[in-house]
Symmetry: C3
Subunit: 200 residues, 3 copies
Protein backbone atom coordinates (compact mmCIF):
# COMPACT_ATOMS: atom_id res chain seq x y z
CA UNK A 1 0.00 0.00 0.00
CA UNK A 2 1.71 3.17 -1.21
CA UNK A 3 -0.02 5.54 1.21
CA UNK A 4 1.43 3.62 4.16
CA UNK A 5 4.91 3.79 2.65
CA UNK A 6 4.76 7.57 2.29
CA UNK A 7 3.34 7.98 5.77
CA UNK A 8 6.19 5.80 7.00
CA UNK A 9 8.72 8.16 5.44
CA UNK A 10 6.93 11.13 7.06
CA UNK A 11 6.99 9.31 10.40
CA UNK A 12 10.71 8.66 9.97
CA UNK A 13 11.29 12.33 9.18
CA UNK A 14 9.37 13.53 12.23
CA UNK A 15 10.98 11.03 14.59
CA UNK A 16 14.40 12.15 13.34
CA UNK A 17 13.43 15.71 14.30
CA UNK A 18 12.27 14.68 17.76
CA UNK A 19 15.49 12.73 18.39
CA UNK A 20 17.66 15.61 17.23
CA UNK A 21 15.79 18.09 19.45
CA UNK A 22 16.22 15.86 22.52
CA UNK A 23 19.92 15.46 21.84
CA UNK A 24 20.39 19.19 21.31
CA UNK A 25 18.80 19.88 24.69
CA UNK A 26 21.49 17.65 26.23
CA UNK A 27 24.15 19.82 24.55
CA UNK A 28 25.39 16.95 22.42
CA UNK A 29 27.52 17.84 19.43
CA UNK A 30 26.26 17.89 15.85
CA UNK A 31 27.31 14.33 15.21
CA UNK A 32 25.79 12.98 18.42
CA UNK A 33 22.52 14.77 17.72
CA UNK A 34 22.39 13.37 14.18
CA UNK A 35 23.04 9.82 15.33
CA UNK A 36 20.38 10.07 18.02
CA UNK A 37 17.97 11.49 15.43
CA UNK A 38 18.82 8.51 13.23
CA UNK A 39 18.33 5.93 15.98
CA UNK A 40 15.06 7.50 17.15
CA UNK A 41 13.74 7.20 13.61
CA UNK A 42 14.80 3.63 12.82
CA UNK A 43 15.17 2.05 16.28
CA UNK A 44 11.63 0.73 16.64
CA UNK A 45 11.45 -0.88 13.21
CA UNK A 46 14.92 -2.36 13.63
CA UNK A 47 14.15 -4.08 16.94
CA UNK A 48 10.87 -5.37 15.50
CA UNK A 49 12.64 -6.82 12.45
CA UNK A 50 15.32 -8.44 14.63
CA UNK A 51 12.71 -10.02 16.91
CA UNK A 52 10.70 -11.32 13.95
CA UNK A 53 13.83 -12.32 12.00
CA UNK A 54 12.73 -10.20 9.03
CA UNK A 55 15.77 -9.49 6.90
CA UNK A 56 17.03 -7.38 5.25
CA UNK A 57 16.05 -4.60 7.67
CA UNK A 58 14.03 -1.99 5.75
CA UNK A 59 16.27 1.06 6.14
CA UNK A 60 19.36 -0.93 5.12
CA UNK A 61 18.08 -1.32 1.58
CA UNK A 62 16.08 1.84 0.94
CA UNK A 63 17.89 5.17 0.56
CA UNK A 64 14.66 7.10 1.02
CA UNK A 65 14.75 6.41 4.75
CA UNK A 66 18.23 7.90 4.93
CA UNK A 67 17.05 10.97 3.02
CA UNK A 68 14.05 11.36 5.31
CA UNK A 69 16.36 11.25 8.33
CA UNK A 70 18.98 13.58 6.84
CA UNK A 71 16.18 16.02 6.00
CA UNK A 72 14.81 15.77 9.54
CA UNK A 73 18.20 16.33 11.16
CA UNK A 74 19.12 19.20 8.85
CA UNK A 75 15.74 20.88 9.30
CA UNK A 76 16.24 20.81 13.04
CA UNK A 77 19.67 22.42 12.77
CA UNK A 78 18.55 25.07 10.31
CA UNK A 79 15.13 25.93 11.64
CA UNK A 80 15.61 25.14 15.29
CA UNK A 81 13.98 28.25 16.71
CA UNK A 82 11.14 27.96 14.30
CA UNK A 83 10.63 24.28 15.10
CA UNK A 84 10.36 24.92 18.81
CA UNK A 85 7.52 27.34 18.13
CA UNK A 86 5.97 24.67 15.96
CA UNK A 87 5.64 22.27 18.89
CA UNK A 88 1.96 21.88 18.20
CA UNK A 89 2.63 21.00 14.57
CA UNK A 90 5.35 18.59 15.66
CA UNK A 91 2.99 16.97 18.11
CA UNK A 92 0.54 16.32 15.29
CA UNK A 93 3.20 14.77 13.06
CA UNK A 94 4.60 12.75 15.93
CA UNK A 95 1.15 11.42 16.71
CA UNK A 96 0.60 10.53 13.06
CA UNK A 97 4.02 8.88 13.25
CA UNK A 98 3.17 6.54 16.09
CA UNK A 99 -0.15 5.69 14.46
CA UNK A 100 1.50 4.77 11.18
CA UNK A 101 4.41 2.97 12.84
CA UNK A 102 2.01 0.87 14.91
CA UNK A 103 0.00 -0.22 11.89
CA UNK A 104 3.14 -0.84 9.82
CA UNK A 105 4.53 -2.93 12.67
CA UNK A 106 1.38 -5.05 12.75
CA UNK A 107 1.47 -5.43 8.98
CA UNK A 108 5.10 -6.63 9.18
CA UNK A 109 4.32 -8.99 12.05
CA UNK A 110 1.57 -10.60 9.97
CA UNK A 111 4.25 -11.67 7.47
CA UNK A 112 5.28 -14.14 10.16
CA UNK A 113 2.84 -16.62 11.62
CA UNK A 114 2.22 -15.21 15.10
CA UNK A 115 -0.79 -14.64 17.33
CA UNK A 116 -2.62 -11.28 17.18
CA UNK A 117 -1.49 -10.31 20.68
CA UNK A 118 2.15 -10.56 19.60
CA UNK A 119 1.44 -8.66 16.39
CA UNK A 120 -0.04 -5.86 18.52
CA UNK A 121 3.05 -5.90 20.74
CA UNK A 122 5.24 -5.69 17.61
CA UNK A 123 3.17 -2.69 16.50
CA UNK A 124 3.83 -0.99 19.81
CA UNK A 125 7.52 -1.91 19.63
CA UNK A 126 7.77 -0.28 16.18
CA UNK A 127 6.19 2.92 17.45
CA UNK A 128 7.92 3.30 20.81
CA UNK A 129 11.35 1.64 20.94
CA UNK A 130 13.06 4.39 18.94
CA UNK A 131 12.02 6.92 21.57
CA UNK A 132 13.07 4.59 24.38
CA UNK A 133 16.58 4.23 22.93
CA UNK A 134 16.72 8.01 22.41
CA UNK A 135 15.99 8.57 26.10
CA UNK A 136 18.49 5.92 27.25
CA UNK A 137 21.24 7.48 25.10
CA UNK A 138 20.37 10.86 26.64
CA UNK A 139 20.61 9.23 30.09
CA UNK A 140 16.97 9.66 31.09
CA UNK A 141 14.27 7.27 32.20
CA UNK A 142 12.27 6.74 29.01
CA UNK A 143 9.48 9.29 28.64
CA UNK A 144 6.83 6.73 27.74
CA UNK A 145 7.28 5.08 31.13
CA UNK A 146 6.76 8.35 32.90
CA UNK A 147 3.83 10.12 31.31
CA UNK A 148 1.08 10.32 28.75
CA UNK A 149 -1.11 7.68 27.25
CA UNK A 150 1.28 6.92 24.45
CA UNK A 151 2.10 3.25 24.17
CA UNK A 152 -1.35 2.38 25.46
CA UNK A 153 -2.81 4.29 22.49
CA UNK A 154 -0.75 2.00 20.22
CA UNK A 155 -2.04 -1.10 21.99
CA UNK A 156 -5.64 0.11 21.72
CA UNK A 157 -5.23 0.89 18.01
CA UNK A 158 -3.73 -2.54 17.44
CA UNK A 159 -6.64 -4.19 19.22
CA UNK A 160 -9.14 -2.23 17.08
CA UNK A 161 -7.29 -3.42 13.98
CA UNK A 162 -7.76 -7.08 14.86
CA UNK A 163 -11.36 -6.62 15.96
CA UNK A 164 -12.25 -4.95 12.64
CA UNK A 165 -10.20 -7.54 10.78
CA UNK A 166 -12.29 -10.32 12.30
CA UNK A 167 -15.28 -8.70 10.55
CA UNK A 168 -13.35 -8.95 7.24
CA UNK A 169 -13.17 -5.20 6.85
CA UNK A 170 -11.22 -4.01 3.80
CA UNK A 171 -7.56 -3.99 4.86
CA UNK A 172 -6.68 -0.49 3.64
CA UNK A 173 -9.78 0.99 5.28
CA UNK A 174 -8.87 -0.88 8.45
CA UNK A 175 -5.33 0.56 8.43
CA UNK A 176 -6.71 4.08 8.18
CA UNK A 177 -9.30 3.57 10.93
CA UNK A 178 -6.70 2.06 13.27
CA UNK A 179 -4.31 4.94 12.67
CA UNK A 180 -7.11 7.42 13.36
CA UNK A 181 -8.02 5.62 16.58
CA UNK A 182 -4.43 5.92 17.83
CA UNK A 183 -4.25 9.59 16.85
CA UNK A 184 -7.64 10.18 18.50
CA UNK A 185 -6.81 8.48 21.79
CA UNK A 186 -3.53 10.29 22.15
CA UNK A 187 -4.94 13.69 21.21
CA UNK A 188 -7.89 13.39 23.56
CA UNK A 189 -5.67 12.16 26.40
CA UNK A 190 -3.36 15.16 25.98
CA UNK A 191 -6.26 17.61 25.78
CA UNK A 192 -7.84 16.14 28.90
CA UNK A 193 -4.49 15.72 30.68
CA UNK A 194 -5.16 12.05 31.20
CA UNK A 195 -2.31 9.85 32.29
CA UNK A 196 -1.86 6.34 33.58
CA UNK A 197 -2.05 5.89 37.34
CA UNK A 198 1.24 5.65 39.17
CA UNK A 199 1.56 2.62 41.43
CA UNK A 200 3.39 3.96 44.42
CA UNK B 1 11.85 -31.94 29.73
CA UNK B 2 8.56 -30.78 31.18
CA UNK B 3 9.90 -29.88 34.62
CA UNK B 4 12.28 -27.36 33.07
CA UNK B 5 9.44 -25.81 31.07
CA UNK B 6 7.32 -25.28 34.19
CA UNK B 7 10.27 -23.94 36.14
CA UNK B 8 10.89 -21.56 33.22
CA UNK B 9 7.34 -20.22 33.53
CA UNK B 10 7.84 -19.77 37.28
CA UNK B 11 11.13 -17.96 36.61
CA UNK B 12 9.36 -15.71 34.11
CA UNK B 13 6.62 -14.98 36.66
CA UNK B 14 9.12 -14.08 39.40
CA UNK B 15 11.30 -11.95 37.12
CA UNK B 16 8.17 -10.04 36.04
CA UNK B 17 7.51 -9.30 39.72
CA UNK B 18 11.08 -8.10 40.33
CA UNK B 19 10.93 -5.83 37.28
CA UNK B 20 7.59 -4.36 38.29
CA UNK B 21 8.81 -3.68 41.84
CA UNK B 22 11.94 -1.87 40.55
CA UNK B 23 9.86 0.26 38.21
CA UNK B 24 7.36 1.10 40.93
CA UNK B 25 10.19 2.32 43.15
CA UNK B 26 11.11 4.76 40.36
CA UNK B 27 7.52 6.09 40.42
CA UNK B 28 6.87 4.92 36.89
CA UNK B 29 3.26 4.70 35.79
CA UNK B 30 1.29 1.47 35.56
CA UNK B 31 2.13 0.98 31.91
CA UNK B 32 5.83 1.67 32.37
CA UNK B 33 6.02 -0.72 35.30
CA UNK B 34 4.27 -3.46 33.31
CA UNK B 35 6.59 -3.06 30.33
CA UNK B 36 9.66 -3.15 32.55
CA UNK B 37 8.26 -6.26 34.25
CA UNK B 38 7.81 -7.78 30.81
CA UNK B 39 11.31 -6.92 29.60
CA UNK B 40 12.93 -8.15 32.82
CA UNK B 41 11.21 -11.49 32.32
CA UNK B 42 11.95 -12.05 28.63
CA UNK B 43 15.05 -9.89 28.03
CA UNK B 44 17.68 -12.50 28.76
CA UNK B 45 16.15 -15.24 26.64
CA UNK B 46 15.53 -12.80 23.80
CA UNK B 47 19.12 -11.58 23.61
CA UNK B 48 20.34 -15.19 23.81
CA UNK B 49 18.05 -16.24 20.94
CA UNK B 50 19.14 -13.25 18.82
CA UNK B 51 22.82 -14.00 19.38
CA UNK B 52 22.36 -17.69 18.54
CA UNK B 53 19.96 -16.93 15.68
CA UNK B 54 17.31 -19.19 17.21
CA UNK B 55 13.95 -18.23 15.73
CA UNK B 56 11.11 -17.92 16.47
CA UNK B 57 11.88 -16.42 19.86
CA UNK B 58 10.18 -18.53 22.53
CA UNK B 59 7.82 -15.97 24.06
CA UNK B 60 6.59 -14.87 20.63
CA UNK B 61 4.91 -18.21 20.03
CA UNK B 62 3.81 -19.33 23.48
CA UNK B 63 0.97 -17.50 25.22
CA UNK B 64 1.87 -19.09 28.56
CA UNK B 65 4.83 -16.73 28.89
CA UNK B 66 2.50 -13.76 28.45
CA UNK B 67 0.17 -15.17 31.09
CA UNK B 68 3.06 -15.75 33.50
CA UNK B 69 4.12 -12.13 33.02
CA UNK B 70 0.61 -10.68 33.28
CA UNK B 71 0.13 -12.69 36.47
CA UNK B 72 3.45 -11.42 37.85
CA UNK B 73 2.66 -7.77 37.06
CA UNK B 74 -0.91 -7.98 38.39
CA UNK B 75 0.20 -9.74 41.57
CA UNK B 76 2.65 -6.95 42.23
CA UNK B 77 -0.01 -4.29 41.79
CA UNK B 78 -2.59 -6.09 43.91
CA UNK B 79 -0.42 -7.49 46.66
CA UNK B 80 2.35 -4.93 46.70
CA UNK B 81 2.58 -4.47 50.46
CA UNK B 82 2.37 -8.16 51.00
CA UNK B 83 5.09 -8.87 48.41
CA UNK B 84 7.52 -6.46 49.99
CA UNK B 85 7.16 -8.38 53.25
CA UNK B 86 7.75 -11.54 51.25
CA UNK B 87 11.20 -10.41 50.18
CA UNK B 88 12.69 -13.62 51.52
CA UNK B 89 10.22 -15.71 49.52
CA UNK B 90 10.93 -13.58 46.46
CA UNK B 91 14.65 -14.06 46.90
CA UNK B 92 14.14 -17.82 46.87
CA UNK B 93 12.07 -17.71 43.68
CA UNK B 94 14.47 -15.27 42.03
CA UNK B 95 17.37 -17.57 42.84
CA UNK B 96 15.49 -20.56 41.47
CA UNK B 97 14.80 -18.36 38.45
CA UNK B 98 18.44 -17.63 37.65
CA UNK B 99 19.31 -21.30 38.17
CA UNK B 100 16.65 -22.46 35.75
CA UNK B 101 17.36 -19.68 33.24
CA UNK B 102 21.06 -20.53 33.21
CA UNK B 103 20.43 -24.22 32.54
CA UNK B 104 17.76 -23.44 29.94
CA UNK B 105 20.17 -21.05 28.25
CA UNK B 106 22.83 -23.75 28.07
CA UNK B 107 20.30 -26.24 26.75
CA UNK B 108 19.29 -23.78 24.00
CA UNK B 109 22.91 -23.00 23.16
CA UNK B 110 23.58 -26.70 22.66
CA UNK B 111 21.05 -26.66 19.80
CA UNK B 112 23.72 -24.71 17.95
CA UNK B 113 27.20 -26.11 17.45
CA UNK B 114 29.26 -23.96 19.83
CA UNK B 115 32.01 -24.53 22.37
CA UNK B 116 31.07 -25.16 26.05
CA UNK B 117 32.52 -21.83 27.16
CA UNK B 118 30.11 -19.98 24.87
CA UNK B 119 27.21 -22.16 25.99
CA UNK B 120 28.01 -21.18 29.58
CA UNK B 121 28.11 -17.51 28.58
CA UNK B 122 24.74 -17.94 26.87
CA UNK B 123 23.42 -19.47 30.11
CA UNK B 124 24.58 -16.43 32.03
CA UNK B 125 23.13 -14.09 29.38
CA UNK B 126 19.73 -15.82 29.74
CA UNK B 127 19.77 -15.38 33.50
CA UNK B 128 21.12 -11.85 33.82
CA UNK B 129 20.41 -9.67 30.77
CA UNK B 130 16.75 -9.11 31.69
CA UNK B 131 17.83 -7.56 34.98
CA UNK B 132 20.51 -5.50 33.25
CA UNK B 133 17.97 -4.00 30.83
CA UNK B 134 15.60 -3.37 33.76
CA UNK B 135 18.29 -1.35 35.53
CA UNK B 136 19.26 0.58 32.39
CA UNK B 137 15.62 1.52 31.77
CA UNK B 138 15.40 2.68 35.39
CA UNK B 139 18.56 4.74 34.80
CA UNK B 140 20.82 2.87 37.21
CA UNK B 141 24.14 1.09 36.86
CA UNK B 142 23.09 -2.56 36.60
CA UNK B 143 22.89 -4.22 40.02
CA UNK B 144 24.83 -7.31 38.98
CA UNK B 145 27.88 -5.15 38.24
CA UNK B 146 27.73 -3.63 41.67
CA UNK B 147 27.11 -6.37 44.18
CA UNK B 148 26.54 -9.96 45.05
CA UNK B 149 27.87 -13.13 43.58
CA UNK B 150 25.11 -13.43 41.05
CA UNK B 151 26.37 -13.87 37.54
CA UNK B 152 29.40 -15.70 38.85
CA UNK B 153 27.03 -18.27 40.39
CA UNK B 154 25.57 -18.79 36.89
CA UNK B 155 29.04 -19.27 35.42
CA UNK B 156 29.97 -21.77 38.14
CA UNK B 157 26.74 -23.72 37.62
CA UNK B 158 27.36 -23.79 33.90
CA UNK B 159 30.87 -25.11 34.42
CA UNK B 160 29.56 -27.85 36.74
CA UNK B 161 27.06 -28.83 34.05
CA UNK B 162 29.78 -29.43 31.47
CA UNK B 163 32.06 -31.20 33.93
CA UNK B 164 29.29 -33.63 34.90
CA UNK B 165 28.30 -33.96 31.26
CA UNK B 166 31.80 -35.12 30.39
CA UNK B 167 31.18 -38.06 32.78
CA UNK B 168 28.04 -38.90 30.77
CA UNK B 169 25.76 -38.14 33.69
CA UNK B 170 22.04 -38.47 32.92
CA UNK B 171 21.00 -35.13 31.38
CA UNK B 172 17.93 -34.50 33.54
CA UNK B 173 19.82 -35.29 36.70
CA UNK B 174 22.60 -33.00 35.53
CA UNK B 175 20.12 -30.15 34.96
CA UNK B 176 18.84 -30.49 38.49
CA UNK B 177 22.29 -30.67 40.06
CA UNK B 178 23.49 -27.61 38.12
CA UNK B 179 20.42 -25.63 39.16
CA UNK B 180 20.99 -26.63 42.79
CA UNK B 181 24.65 -25.58 42.57
CA UNK B 182 23.66 -22.11 41.35
CA UNK B 183 20.99 -21.78 44.05
CA UNK B 184 23.49 -23.00 46.64
CA UNK B 185 26.30 -20.63 45.67
CA UNK B 186 24.05 -17.61 45.64
CA UNK B 187 22.32 -18.47 48.90
CA UNK B 188 25.58 -19.13 50.72
CA UNK B 189 27.17 -15.95 49.35
CA UNK B 190 24.22 -13.88 50.56
CA UNK B 191 24.23 -15.51 53.98
CA UNK B 192 27.96 -14.93 54.34
CA UNK B 193 27.82 -11.45 52.78
CA UNK B 194 30.39 -12.44 50.20
CA UNK B 195 30.91 -10.17 47.23
CA UNK B 196 33.40 -9.84 44.43
CA UNK B 197 36.42 -7.61 45.10
CA UNK B 198 36.24 -4.10 43.71
CA UNK B 199 39.23 -3.08 41.61
CA UNK B 200 39.79 0.51 42.59
CA UNK C 1 43.43 -11.35 4.93
CA UNK C 2 45.53 -12.43 7.90
CA UNK C 3 46.88 -8.99 8.82
CA UNK C 4 43.32 -7.72 9.34
CA UNK C 5 42.52 -10.71 11.53
CA UNK C 6 45.48 -10.09 13.82
CA UNK C 7 44.75 -6.38 13.97
CA UNK C 8 41.17 -7.30 14.88
CA UNK C 9 42.42 -9.33 17.84
CA UNK C 10 44.62 -6.42 18.91
CA UNK C 11 41.63 -4.07 18.62
CA UNK C 12 39.56 -6.48 20.74
CA UNK C 13 42.32 -6.60 23.34
CA UNK C 14 42.61 -2.81 23.55
CA UNK C 15 38.86 -2.25 23.65
CA UNK C 16 38.62 -4.76 26.51
CA UNK C 17 41.17 -2.66 28.39
CA UNK C 18 39.28 0.58 27.77
CA UNK C 19 36.02 -1.00 28.95
CA UNK C 20 37.60 -2.40 32.08
CA UNK C 21 39.20 0.95 32.95
CA UNK C 22 35.86 2.77 32.56
CA UNK C 23 34.11 0.24 34.76
CA UNK C 24 36.84 0.41 37.39
CA UNK C 25 36.42 4.19 37.58
CA UNK C 26 32.75 3.58 38.42
CA UNK C 27 33.87 1.34 41.30
CA UNK C 28 32.27 -1.72 39.77
CA UNK C 29 33.35 -5.08 41.10
CA UNK C 30 35.77 -7.41 39.36
CA UNK C 31 33.00 -9.30 37.60
CA UNK C 32 31.19 -6.15 36.44
CA UNK C 33 34.40 -4.65 35.11
CA UNK C 34 35.21 -7.85 33.20
CA UNK C 35 31.77 -8.03 31.62
CA UNK C 36 31.91 -4.39 30.59
CA UNK C 37 35.39 -5.01 29.14
CA UNK C 38 33.91 -7.93 27.23
CA UNK C 39 30.93 -5.99 25.89
CA UNK C 40 33.06 -3.01 24.90
CA UNK C 41 35.24 -5.33 22.85
CA UNK C 42 32.56 -7.34 21.06
CA UNK C 43 29.52 -5.01 21.17
CA UNK C 44 30.10 -3.22 17.88
CA UNK C 45 30.73 -6.35 15.82
CA UNK C 46 27.77 -8.09 17.43
CA UNK C 47 25.27 -5.35 16.61
CA UNK C 48 26.65 -5.17 13.06
CA UNK C 49 26.26 -8.94 12.59
CA UNK C 50 22.71 -8.86 14.00
CA UNK C 51 21.71 -6.00 11.69
CA UNK C 52 23.22 -7.73 8.65
CA UNK C 53 21.95 -11.17 9.72
CA UNK C 54 25.48 -12.58 9.56
CA UNK C 55 25.56 -15.75 11.65
CA UNK C 56 27.30 -17.25 13.51
CA UNK C 57 28.57 -14.13 15.24
CA UNK C 58 32.39 -14.09 15.03
CA UNK C 59 33.31 -14.22 18.72
CA UNK C 60 30.88 -17.10 19.34
CA UNK C 61 32.98 -19.47 17.26
CA UNK C 62 36.54 -18.27 17.75
CA UNK C 63 38.22 -18.73 21.14
CA UNK C 64 40.97 -16.27 20.23
CA UNK C 65 38.58 -13.39 20.80
CA UNK C 66 37.86 -14.66 24.29
CA UNK C 67 41.59 -14.95 24.98
CA UNK C 68 42.20 -11.43 23.68
CA UNK C 69 39.50 -10.13 26.02
CA UNK C 70 40.65 -12.16 29.04
CA UNK C 71 44.16 -10.90 28.43
CA UNK C 72 42.89 -7.31 28.19
CA UNK C 73 40.86 -7.56 31.38
CA UNK C 74 43.62 -9.30 33.32
CA UNK C 75 46.26 -6.82 32.13
CA UNK C 76 44.11 -3.99 33.40
CA UNK C 77 43.74 -5.58 36.82
CA UNK C 78 47.41 -6.47 37.14
CA UNK C 79 49.05 -3.43 35.60
CA UNK C 80 46.43 -0.81 36.38
CA UNK C 81 48.76 1.92 37.59
CA UNK C 82 51.12 1.28 34.76
CA UNK C 83 48.32 1.36 32.18
CA UNK C 84 47.06 4.73 33.37
CA UNK C 85 50.52 6.16 32.76
CA UNK C 86 50.43 4.51 29.37
CA UNK C 87 47.43 6.58 28.31
CA UNK C 88 49.28 7.78 25.24
CA UNK C 89 50.11 4.22 24.21
CA UNK C 90 46.52 3.21 24.86
CA UNK C 91 45.27 6.08 22.74
CA UNK C 92 47.39 4.83 19.85
CA UNK C 93 46.08 1.27 20.17
CA UNK C 94 42.52 2.49 20.58
CA UNK C 95 42.86 4.58 17.45
CA UNK C 96 44.30 1.64 15.54
CA UNK C 97 41.36 -0.32 16.94
CA UNK C 98 38.67 1.95 15.53
CA UNK C 99 40.47 2.08 12.20
CA UNK C 100 40.64 -1.69 11.93
CA UNK C 101 37.10 -2.20 13.25
CA UNK C 102 35.73 0.27 10.68
CA UNK C 103 37.43 -1.47 7.77
CA UNK C 104 36.48 -4.92 9.08
CA UNK C 105 32.89 -3.74 9.43
CA UNK C 106 32.85 -2.55 5.82
CA UNK C 107 34.40 -5.82 4.67
CA UNK C 108 31.69 -7.77 6.52
CA UNK C 109 28.94 -5.53 5.15
CA UNK C 110 30.15 -6.21 1.61
CA UNK C 111 29.32 -9.90 2.18
CA UNK C 112 25.71 -8.75 1.99
CA UNK C 113 24.39 -6.89 -1.02
CA UNK C 114 23.98 -3.34 0.35
CA UNK C 115 24.76 0.16 -0.84
CA UNK C 116 28.13 1.75 0.04
CA UNK C 117 26.53 4.30 2.36
CA UNK C 118 25.12 1.47 4.50
CA UNK C 119 28.43 -0.38 4.43
CA UNK C 120 30.10 2.77 5.77
CA UNK C 121 27.47 3.03 8.49
CA UNK C 122 28.11 -0.62 9.39
CA UNK C 123 31.83 0.18 9.60
CA UNK C 124 31.08 2.99 12.04
CA UNK C 125 28.71 0.74 14.02
CA UNK C 126 31.49 -1.87 14.37
CA UNK C 127 33.92 0.71 15.68
CA UNK C 128 31.69 2.72 18.01
CA UNK C 129 28.77 0.69 19.40
CA UNK C 130 30.90 -1.22 21.91
CA UNK C 131 31.93 2.08 23.49
CA UNK C 132 28.35 3.35 23.43
CA UNK C 133 27.10 0.27 25.33
CA UNK C 134 30.01 0.63 27.77
CA UNK C 135 28.94 4.19 28.56
CA UNK C 136 25.26 3.26 28.89
CA UNK C 137 26.10 0.45 31.32
CA UNK C 138 28.19 2.94 33.31
CA UNK C 139 25.20 5.31 33.30
CA UNK C 140 26.77 8.08 31.23
CA UNK C 141 25.81 9.84 28.03
CA UNK C 142 27.99 8.08 25.44
CA UNK C 143 31.35 9.78 25.04
CA UNK C 144 31.26 9.80 21.25
CA UNK C 145 28.17 12.01 21.35
CA UNK C 146 29.92 14.50 23.57
CA UNK C 147 33.40 15.06 22.25
CA UNK C 148 36.14 14.38 19.78
CA UNK C 149 36.04 13.66 16.11
CA UNK C 150 35.72 9.94 16.57
CA UNK C 151 32.83 8.46 14.68
CA UNK C 152 33.24 11.08 12.00
CA UNK C 153 36.79 9.79 11.45
CA UNK C 154 35.28 6.34 10.83
CA UNK C 155 32.80 7.77 8.34
CA UNK C 156 35.54 9.64 6.50
CA UNK C 157 37.74 6.54 6.36
CA UNK C 158 34.83 4.52 5.02
CA UNK C 159 34.17 7.10 2.34
CA UNK C 160 37.84 7.03 1.30
CA UNK C 161 37.65 3.26 1.03
CA UNK C 162 34.80 3.40 -1.48
CA UNK C 163 36.34 6.25 -3.44
CA UNK C 164 39.61 4.33 -3.84
CA UNK C 165 37.68 1.16 -4.54
CA UNK C 166 35.96 2.86 -7.48
CA UNK C 167 39.44 3.29 -8.99
CA UNK C 168 39.96 -0.48 -8.62
CA UNK C 169 42.75 -0.05 -6.13
CA UNK C 170 44.17 -3.31 -4.75
CA UNK C 171 41.88 -4.31 -1.86
CA UNK C 172 44.57 -4.96 0.75
CA UNK C 173 46.32 -1.71 -0.04
CA UNK C 174 42.97 0.04 0.17
CA UNK C 175 42.29 -1.46 3.62
CA UNK C 176 45.61 -0.15 4.89
CA UNK C 177 45.16 3.33 3.42
CA UNK C 178 41.64 3.62 4.87
CA UNK C 179 42.85 2.55 8.31
CA UNK C 180 45.66 5.10 8.13
CA UNK C 181 43.20 7.84 7.11
CA UNK C 182 41.05 7.11 10.18
CA UNK C 183 44.08 7.05 12.45
CA UNK C 184 45.35 10.26 10.87
CA UNK C 185 42.08 12.19 11.18
CA UNK C 186 41.63 11.22 14.80
CA UNK C 187 45.20 11.93 15.77
CA UNK C 188 45.26 15.33 14.09
CA UNK C 189 41.89 16.29 15.57
CA UNK C 190 43.12 15.43 19.09
CA UNK C 191 46.38 17.30 18.59
CA UNK C 192 44.55 20.37 17.31
CA UNK C 193 41.73 20.04 19.86
CA UNK C 194 39.16 19.99 17.11
CA UNK C 195 35.64 18.95 17.98
CA UNK C 196 32.26 18.97 16.32
CA UNK C 197 30.15 22.10 16.86
CA UNK C 198 27.47 21.88 19.50
CA UNK C 199 24.02 22.89 18.29
CA UNK C 200 22.61 24.75 21.23
Amino acid sequence: MDLLYYLDLIGTFVFAISGTISAAEKKLDLFGASVIGFITAVGGGTVRDLLLDLHPITWLIDMYYIWAIVLGVLSTFLFRRYIVKLRRTLFIFDTIGIGVFTVLGIQKALLVDILPVFAIIMGMVSATVGGVIRDILCNEIPLIFRKEIYATACLAGGAIFFILNSFNLDLNLNYIISILVIIGIRTVSIKMRLSMPNIK
